[in-house]
Amino acid sequence: MNYNLPVLLIAIPILFSFLSLILGSFNKILSKIILISVIIFNIISGICIYNSVLKNGNILTVIGNYLPPFGINLISTYTSISFLILLYIVFLVASLIFVSKNDDRADKISSVLLLYLASSTGILLTGDIFNLFVFIEIFSISNIILISIKDKKLSIKGSLKYLIITSIGASLYLFGIGFLYGILGTLNLSEISLNFDNISYFSKVFIFLFFLGSIMAELEVFPFNFWISDSYAGSKNYVNILLSGLSSIVALYIFIRLFLTVFGYPTFISFSYSLPFNVKTLFLTIFGLSVIVNELAALSSKNVKRILGFSSASSLSLILLSLSTGLKNGVMAAMLIAISVIISKPLLFLSSHQIMKGKGEKNLNSFIDGFRRNPLFSILFIIGVFTLVGFPLTPSFWGKFLLFISATEKISYTTLILVIVVFSITIELFYYFRLMHKLFIKDENIKVEKTKNNFVYIFSGILLASIIIFFSVKPYFTQNIVEKTTEDIFDKSGYIKSCLKSGEIDDR
């Protein structure tokens, strides 16, 4: 029962982040070797945990030899561990790119990257609300540092904006924790979810709004998304990959865990009778607005990195929109879209970086004649775009299809969801096809030289593309994963039982 491998996923990166500083002062290459080997260790042990979760159900890891709710514990569920493996693949790509570059501060940055890995693992696994807060703080501080690495005005401005918004968010989160602890007397997520319905009405609204406000910044949702434009445009390539891929996985997981499992959908529905506003309507409005605003911002910007950043924010909002329908089909759709977004966004950043290589400005015109310069990455870019927009047979296509179906189930929201989804698909198609069109424009005046691609870029690009193709070619495999994840998300009593060994609760 007490299975200790999950805690090593957090402890080993932390241990080696200190070692990377000690050994890196002798030779910078050592710290790079440490980084890569730790990620490979994490991937292998993540797959081991995945197998045992498949066999035995949720795994409870006790820390400090005190069983929950007295001590801190980690719970590895199917959702968290499959998210974790996706995260590790994206992280592997980003860190391979980091390793292939020369940097004076390689030892320090690889230490930051290791802590980033540890904190995101911790967010995905932890079963304690305050521990979650600590890991979120580590995560956002390392995000700030990574954004500001590129020593430009833009990147520093972006990271400062991110810092201000996340620290306000963190204080809101702590207020929520204070309320929860004051009322329930516990910090364990399972026990909170067991007793959350008993809290009185105003306090419930309060706690709910505090937590919602606090994770808005991580979620890149509309009123709190002003940090995106600077930080995506002003940061390095591997940081873009981390921000678009990893950050969205983590934010999504926090949203799922807090609002679907812990506070629970039953609570949401009982909310809606007594509140002046309906929670579901609130969610749909916020996220729908966010989709539209982000798409419009992406349409209007000239910088390619900015376009990709806003488009990743809008697809994250689309995922949240389909999560907040609260239906089984909606959540499945969210998972399908999430898989395609998480893998295709890093691919897009990678390939656009390679296409624009050698051009001084990073605006739309640097895409001209990209196909003749760099055919491989142009093809990869096109694959990424098709996956993101929802070309038939890709996971994103099935996701959007399911979202339409789920929209027809609840009549009151059908038009809203339909309008938003169609709108977003249209605008996405417009600006991505504009980019793709530029790839094939021939500029006869300039002699074209083929770009030399680094081996690491080719490897990681082909890795990501083959994962996407694998998911598209084997729809039953994808369906299997997504159905299991959805079941796990709705299985509130299973989550509680794996932690507290009890907890009869009526789901839905």
Binding site: N2, N4, V7, A11, I14, F18, L21, I22, S25, T61, V62, I63, G64, N65, Y66, L67, P69, F70, G71, I72, R105, K108, I109, S111, V112, L115, A118, S119, G122, F130, N131, V134, E137, I138, I141, S142, I144, I145, S148, D151, I156, F179, G182, I183, G185, T186, L187, N188, I199, S200, Y201, F202, S203, F206, I496, C499, L500, K501, S502, G503
Partner: protein, 275 residues
């Protein structure tokens, strides 16, 4: 921005804040069940920390694992032990300071995260400011030099005392580290004591390494991360807390070195010391 625009913005900000305030007051004046916050606060028995402060978590766990229901722990508050200062021994942990027992034993993982937050922020400071160098400071005066030379040893002594007695009295590793770092700041300003950042970084990362190593050894000895594997003594003695004394000392060293690195970085930029 002109003055007139500013006032309008301020007025709307004030209105926004006022509405938020009224909204925040609402849970306090709720009828019926709403006063739950107040009701529960007056009773520590409804909380997890009740068992923490009586150091009887293992006892409760034993009883609960017979019933096989961990959500009903609030109903068996009677079986907790009695803790007497200077007499009780062989408890779960022998710390007289109950906050420390929570910080480093029951919720030790949080403290690990806390350490890492400090570590990563100072690391980030050195990364961010590594390309900057600041203007040199003025020479210190005679009064400052003498004062600093007199005060600094005492400050370091107090710092060491505080982290060694973190389990008996208020304080612990973090305040002690802050005091030690203040001492290094004084010596930097007062008598131009120019320490090398790389040495401090070495201390810092080694201390962090050993903290996690000690925690990981718990995996081998007790079967869980951060488990205590050293014996505990009588409550109130210096050697009463098992791992807490060692870990807090390492934390004190680490925080002191870390904050000194931060001060040095802000003082001079990392550029023009060693290398």
């Amino acid at each position: 921005m002109r003055e007139s625009d500013f006032n309008v913005g301020k007025f709307f900000a004030f209105l926004f804040v006022l509405i938020l305030f009224l909204f925040m007051l609402s849970p306090l004046f709720e009828e019926g069940d709403g006063a739950k916050i107040d009701k529960n606060l007056s009773d520590i028995k409804n909380r997890v920390s009740y068992f923490h402060s009586l150091k009887s978590v293992k006892e409760i766990e034993r009883i609960l694992s017979d019933n096989n229901d961990f959500s009903k722990y609030r109903e068996i508050t009677d079986s907790a032990k009695t803790v007497i200062f200077g007499e009780s021994k062989d408890l779960e942990n022998g710390t007289a300071n109950l906050v420390t027992s929570i910080v480093l034993d029951y919720r030790g993982f949080d403290t690990l995260g806390e350490l890492i937050v400090l570590f990563i922020s100072i690391l980030g400071l050195t990364i961010i400011l590594s390309t900057l160098s600041f203007a040199k400071f003025e020479e210190p005066s005679f009064l400052q030099i003498t004062g600093v030379k007199f005060v600094t040893p005492f400050m370091i002594l107090v710092g060491i005392y505080i982290f060694l007695h973190g389990h008996l009295s208020p304080g612990g590793g973090f305040p002690a580290g802050a005091i030690i770092a203040t001492a290094t700041l004084f010596s930097l300003i007062g008598c131009k004591f120019n320490y090398r950042v790389s040495n401090l970084k070495f201390i810092e990362s080694n201390a962090g390494f050993f903290v996690i190593l000690l925690a990981t050894l718990g995996l081998y000895f007790t079967g869980s991360f951060f488990g205590n594997y050293l014996p505990t003594g009588i409550v109130g003695k210096l050697y009463s807390s098992s791992l807490i004394l060692i870990i807090y000392s390492l934390v004190g060293l680490k925080v002191g070195a870390e904050l000194s690195v931060g001060i040095k970085t802000l003082y001079n930029g990392e550029k023009d010391d060693d290398r």
